[in-house]
Amino acid sequence: MNMREKERTVLQRYTITELDNGHLYIHLNGRIDIESASNILNTLETKILSTSPKIVTINLDNVSYFDEYGALVLSELRKIVADQKGTLNISDKKNRSKIKASVANFDTPEKTTGIRKSPVNFFVRVGDASLSRMDNMKYFTSFLGSVILSFIDVLKHPKSIRLNDTITCMEKTGVNAIPIVALISFLLGLVMAFMSSLQLKQFGANIYVASLVSIAMVSELGPIMTAIVVAGRSGSAFAAEIGTMKISEEVDALFIMGFNPTTFLAVPRIIASMIVVPILTLFSDLFAIAGGLVIGILTLDLTFNSYIAQTLKTLSLFEVMWGLSKSVVFALIIAWIGCLRGFQTRGGADAVGNSATSAVVTSIFLIILFDSFFAVARSYLW
């Protein structure tokens, strides 16, 4: 049956006869079920509201099927008619008792509890939100504490570290991210070199493109870009993995077996991230410089040797180490927040999704925040 046919059969479920002195006579026929209910109710409601009849009689003689959707319609109609100061009668030749009973079910004043949670007022919501923020802060610190304790524990008993998990995690977080990090950085180097060359060309300062790309990448953009990619790829994965384990009681099972869930789940991820993110950052630096090099050779008439020489002249060991130490801190943030959001997960599948999202958002925010701290600290170091 296509849509149009369906509509037509639904429309044919009633005939309305208007008698004089405000009497409305309605014949229902066929199946009164979930498909026809809303249509019947809407049309009849409009009709009743426009004519305001004193008496409405609904005839059910030809109704072949009638369920609680039908009962709901009749009960609603009765209310509407009553609002118009009229009365509604139901006539049924077969006098089916079931129909009467099920209409009566809806007629009795509501003793049902609401299906949806009732909305609470503004102040309650603000209060709740503040409380949950505070809880969140408490959890932030207590989780950090538990991570630190776990690390102390791991240092004391190096055997308790989950080596295999750490290696798997290094592979997932590091090795598998190389292509995307390399590609993004290469393009970033390319773009940076190209855009800066447009300006620097005017002064004949082509060679400084190499300096610009390398210094910007190594001290700022490399660590940041890598951290953002890792936060999106792995921070969310940490949150989702641990969150799923949390809601399926696997974390409880670990606890009962005598494992410390933080040591078991968070420590491998944190260690793995802190090892691979700096390496990824190095890759990112290299590929960005390669991107700049391509532009330098193709559009700025620089030679391979002069570009590399200028890059090396610009970069100091301090610069490289600075970038790498930042990336270690970013790695810590990503893994810490990812695991934290995972452990905070409560509820069902949607909660896991929320944790993953919030892991990415929170860690990117903290990455940028800490990057500014680094910038401030550096300006005081000189």
Binding site: E241, S248, E250, D252, A253, G258
Partner: protein, 252 residues
Amino acid sequence: MPNDAIIQINNLSAKYSDDVILDNITFDVYQNEIFVVLGGSGCGKSTLLRHTIGLEVPFAGNVTIDGADLINCSETEFKNTLKKIGVLFQGSALFGSMTVSENVALPIQEYSNLKNDLIDKIVNLKLGLVGLEGYGNHLPSEISGGMKKRAGLARALALNPKILFLDEPSAGLDPITSKEIDELILDINKNLGTTIVIVTHELESIFTVAQRVIMLDKTKKGIIAEGKPADLKKYSTNQTVKDFFNRKSNKK
């Protein structure tokens, strides 16, 4: 029956945020017995179990397992108590990233220094016990719900715990598997002297395995009956209890 209590629950009250789930519950579980917690769904059976094994901190009251007060004891004592218990969770709670064998092996690796091939032997033995030989290399996502339950049981049994907690071990299983699990429970209890606490609402298994039961009720938020299942069925005067054992709905 040796009448020394191995688990003592005193005046336990449990809340989730503001909802009181259990109100002032007191009971003992004795050494070597099979003890069943029963009641309709949503009445707080799992909640009671989670409080008993120390996963949740009670709002009020005490839980003592084998002499250790779970709420006030030291960390070491708590750890030692955990070693004595095995738990089968309602949803099995197998680790999704590990095979069935690795799941069972995990607690053994943690608590013993046995070589891996020896651990494998024990794991195979345990899997055989629950009828899962040959499925060791499957991931939890590759086996059926009933098999997951049995794998979870094998994992709970891995350390031959002194007390075994089973949350609905046979819910959703076919009658034959369910009967096999009942027999397994009886075997474990007889051969190893394990105290077993089972949460269930399967009448059949209650009559097969339970030596003593308590029945929880959602409206009373507490225990409405305690005793041998056969006695409760015959002599209980409480309507809910009678209906439960006679499989009646509480509508007329």
